[in-house]
Symmetry: D4
Subunit: 231 residues, 8 copies
């Protein structure tokens, strides 16, 4: 049973990289510092580096004392131990509709970089002033994969989705009020989008969008050689 290690409260998944392409990342929300620390320790031991997402500032400060080489980004609330290495060609573009959406956009951008992607950022280009977006139309069409982060009504995703021939991953954010329902409205809107070829991840899930983007870039980088035996 060498694929995982049982810490009692947790079974650390060493087989993750082989199985899923990237080493395990720790989801920090709702985990106590006493739980995060040993898992970090085990993963650093095994992989030499680790990323922890959704780390509140107070927890980060304690963990930084224990792992002084680590770095904490207060916008995305990501804690990194070790440096990202650029593994893949092409470019993941992260677009954000408004200034208030940056905490999600940065979670996506830093995650994609951590997983080996080159990342470009295009922020505050919401559709209420569409000329700001169209000013970057050339850059947008050149990106390999696009992550569109938007709160409010999330219309940016539809407009971008109609401009490109590359996969668009939409991330609704919890930024809004009233009928926005903490992100439900842009999520539903992105799901119902009139633009083809767009898929959606959970509210504020910049990490998940970046994870899929990195999987795509990995596939591009490795190419396609295998075939299944299923008809």
């Amino acid at each position: 049973m060498e694929n995982f290690e049982d810490l009692g409260f947790s079974k650390v998944d060493y087989a993750r990289e082989e199985r899923q392409g990237f080493p395990e990342v720790i989801y920090g929300e709702g985990k106590a510092v006493e739980h995060i620390e040993p898992i970090m320790g085990k993963l650093i031991e095994r992989h030499g580096k680790v990323m922890v997402t959704r780390v509140a500032k107070e927890k980060a400060e304690i963990l930084l004392e224990r792992f002084p080489e680590a770095v904490y980004d207060s916008t995305s609330r990501i804690l990194l131990y070790g440096k990202p290495v650029l593994n893949f060609g092409g470019e993941v573009m992260v677009l954000a509709a408004g200034t208030s959406d940056l905490f999600v956009a940065e979670e996506a951008a830093i995650t994609a970089e951590w997983m080996g992607c080159k990342v470009s950022r295009l922020y505050d280009v919401g559709v209420a002033g569409i000329d700001r977006l169209l000013a970057y139309r050339d850059d947008i069409t050149k990106a390999s994969v696009l992550i569109v982060v938007a709160g409010m009504e999330g219309a940016l995703a539809s407009v971008v989705g109609g401009l490109v021939q590359r996969p668009v991953i939409a991330v609704p954010t919890s930024v809004g009020y009233g009928t926005h329902f903490e992100g439900i409205t842009p999520l539903l809107a992105m799901m119902s989008s009139c633009a083809s070829g767009m898929s959606v991840v959970n509210i504020d899930n910049g990490f998940g969008a970046a994870y899929q983007a990195a999987m795509i870039m990995k596939l591009v980088s490795e190419g396609v050689h295998h075939e299944t035996s299923v008809s």
Copy 2:
């Protein structure tokens, strides 16, 4: 009690025009032909004309036998007795995102014309192909009031709302599937729009949007002369 007439099942509102600016319109949905016919009769007697909305084809056929001068539009399902008269300057523009939204767009357009407005129509300009919309940017900015009809995620309203300095009234439609929830999603999205100065009416309520647009054109036409005594 001369302001309304009591038919037992209905109290016909003769004071509507003085009070609300336009004669009573009959909402046909859920009313039996036996109810619609006498109310039509009373209103024609009083005003010389009448509009009935949401009339199913089968009902329309019966009513057309009784009122052969009436005209029925099968897209909007509106029955008109009498002709609209152009009363107001300026132009109400009705935009529709997709071909399937026309039944609502036409309800809005015909209602606005009935109430005295000049109407221009711009259909199938959904944001997934934004160049189709932008090709008409000049016309859009010239309209006095804009009614934006959209199903799916309703993003057209936000984009139009960001392009003009005139009032935009958004109408979500029941066209879509799955997470679209028969119009709830575009309604919520329009409510949460990042564009300023936009208001929203009920799902498929082309009539209501046109009614408000006509009230605005009437106000423009009549100008502002009164002042209240409230501070």
Copy 3:
């Protein structure tokens, strides 16, 4: 690229006035003081004045130190730099159903004034004591545009909507409890209103209602001269 200025976290929209009729307003909710301050600076530089909405008291105090000429209204939580100028004839009336709805009513009233409108206020006229409302019936019918602010079940909007021939913009508020769902219930009720010619904005969105009211008054003031080429 002179239409906007890129501050990194934000692209300040200088073309807003030409495109949308009024200079950009800063939505303060969820923006850090470090973000609001430079945008305020840029907009004051360009327009000589600026309005910031939804500014919490603590943030306002810091910003007032930096911009001592600014004024903060604690009911509406609006921060103003510069004085409003009366640009349009006619009158926007703001009605509020209850004392607890004033924070939204004042957001609407101050915004409309800021944008150039004359504003009258009629507060605490909820329908449970309908005589209070009817005592002002003459004033209500004289207003050019009416903004109806109501929490609870929002019935005031329907009653007012049935009394006037001018556009009514309804604003549901988050004031209520239980089945009120923080404003969803009056929003749905206003959407389903039996009164014609009423449109609705997001919960507590006094700003949006006033923005549309001001657009209408601007249209009245400028009149209608252009025509589109669309049929």
Copy 4:
């Protein structure tokens, strides 16, 4: 075990009158004719009369063949065997906002009459034309109990609730579209009403409202003589 009779698929409740004040009424919806008929038979045997609610026309026709003395009302879809007897003084007033709400209003009115009440009807007095309602203000304030039936946004209940010192029972109806959600919106609105002393029953539940109204009239008729031993 004489209080009920076991028909296998049903246990006919003979003790209902003693326990709840009125004999059992058959709720016809979702019951097959083969189930309704024997229960009707048993109840007629015991009480000499019976009321069946929510009987579809096709079922009614079959039952009328079996019980030729019965009478069917197609608006309320109620089947009556036997005649109502006026047992209580005072008056239950049934108000309906619109013509389309009559199927519920009549269910309430006929039920209240069946249970011994005098009933007055005031129909098509929705708040969008409030003068129609206010024309009957004297009558409204004289009623002993008021049942307010309304679809759309249900605002009539709040207005009536604010005019009287008698109990108001509000009945939301499924009449409306879009954000009306088949009656959920007026139900929530009535629940959140700013008028005091109003209670609400299920959507389209004219029967339930009338049942409570009759219980109140019965209490008035019998007076109050007992006291509990609970402190």
Copy 5:
């Protein structure tokens, strides 16, 4: 305009007693002490007494300094100035399913007493131990009006509703977790109850239930003498 007094932020409703049978009660939630105090002052001036509901402890302490004769009940959060007078015969019974529901049950009980009713209390009789409820069956059937306060699934209301021939007013409470949705579940359950003659008020609305109960007792006390002219 002697029926109300305009304090600017509020129009104090002096006609309430004549119109609705009882003097205005102040709903304290969401009102600042600076708003409550002058309204209290005006109402004491007029009526010699006043009740304020939903007063947080901190606010109550300030108000008690200003009105030292007032009394504050910390369970129901009601502030009373003046003493209730027993006006009506018969008995309003308040039942509560669990210990945690007492804050609502006491709001109902104290309100009913304030409005002139005799009140009996039967607490902690939830249906999971039905023998506790049935032990009081005699008392329950003797009450004139029953207010059933229940959180969780609210089943107590259905069981009580099936035991009596008097009006039952059900009050769902916000006591529960998970699928209880802060009171929505018992509210929906009470609405869908299989027991006839029950009506429902908003979540935690002990005040509203007691208000209707008092209206019923007032009607019983005054009897029925008037008749409307409506057919």
Copy 6:
């Protein structure tokens, strides 16, 4: 790959009995007759018998032609090929609140019998007439497992749950209207029940409840001998 057989559109699960204790049952809803027939054939071949649930009458008639030995029950819509065998001691009691709930109650009862249980039925014992239920209190407390089937507000489950020391499985039904939401309300109510030791299955899922009841009776019948190595 002998554990299942691949029919292309379906992989028939022969290992189900060993793995889950009972042979595969066919869920007929949404399956075409052309799909059901070959799967039935394969399972009869393997096990000598088969049960198909949720078979519409029209489909059943076609299948009965193909499998003339099969029997169809029109209340539960179950098609049986082969006879049930009584395998387990004790008794599963199925309770139903109302006559309209029988289609679910019978699905549960027939399934439990098919799986080897002795079943007793107690129907039409809803809590609005609690004496009907309490008349059977002795029988209820003797049952080994209780399946409580209820629509409307589902209160029967809570009352039964408080009377017994045996596992209660609650099945909400789609029988009701308005706020009942086709079964959501009793489901939520059962989930929030104040009675301990009750679990819930999906709306109308009589099959699932019976499946779990049979698993419990099987466990009782086989006793407990194994122990895991997990601490």
Copy 7:
């Protein structure tokens, strides 16, 4: 009236053990220390031991002063006075999908032990790394009853449900974010599970699941001897 004792705010249920198989357990949430303490006292007097669930740390500390022999578990927030006794053979297995679900899993495990069961724990075996779960397949199939605790999408329950022939009780947890809706999503998913023979309890309701598991083990232990007289 010896079956319960009336403390005014509470009726302590001494008949619970005879009626429901286990002595009353105190649900600590929302109860004040002043309420919990006397009920604990009464139950200790009667049964010599007591369990209190959902006790916040601050309350626990006060209660521990009063009952120094009691023990508090901070993960499950359970307070125990007295020791559990192993009464039943077989084994209840508690599985948890993630580390963050432990607070619910431990509530279930400790409750089951308290009620007399042997409990095995299998934690952090969520389906995203299915090999961790399958590594314990033998142990899983040997358990008598399985309690599956899972947040996020709750898929663990379906997978486990398909592996065993013993009853599975699923417990959704409030661990997740965005579309997880504080546990609604895994609850709905578990309800809609494709695995047969699984039932579900309320969100985070580890206690309820354990209660039913213990009832099952009690039934196994006592065997089945009685039969009802109902057909």
Copy 8:
């Protein structure tokens, strides 16, 4: 204006292929045959082929008369004019949980083939019998992109998502009942999945999933050469 052609009711988008990588596809749902036919004609003229999705059988029969070379697939309801050409290496695998999900799975599979992908199908591998899925583990890990189609609780997506290092696109289906809410439950579950790197499309949207899969395969095929100028 050569990029689209205005048919009045529709603006045919000829620029789609250049802008989005693939020619326009006609969404047949809600479009009349009279609308579909001319658009088909225009697109065949331009591209020599066309795909129409969601075509009801009756419409398909009429269109097949007009376009006899077209082919209609009744499972997916897709109408094809022209043959797909294999353009990309690698393999898109479509997995379906149950037999009833095939209508969506085939929409995905045929669309992906139409757009140039090699497709493998793995059907009826729902997690309730996980051995059926694991029997194909090798094939699953070799696929380039995986589309997982599942109704009920949608757990298949999470399990597959945890087995592979390639992008997984999850498609919830409307197959289920009760708490399944016509696909909302698997959609929410997939959104909340514990597996990383998965994204989700609208309910039953096999087309959208295939579109994104094809975009990924196109990107793999073309490689990454461009870079944006955005930092």
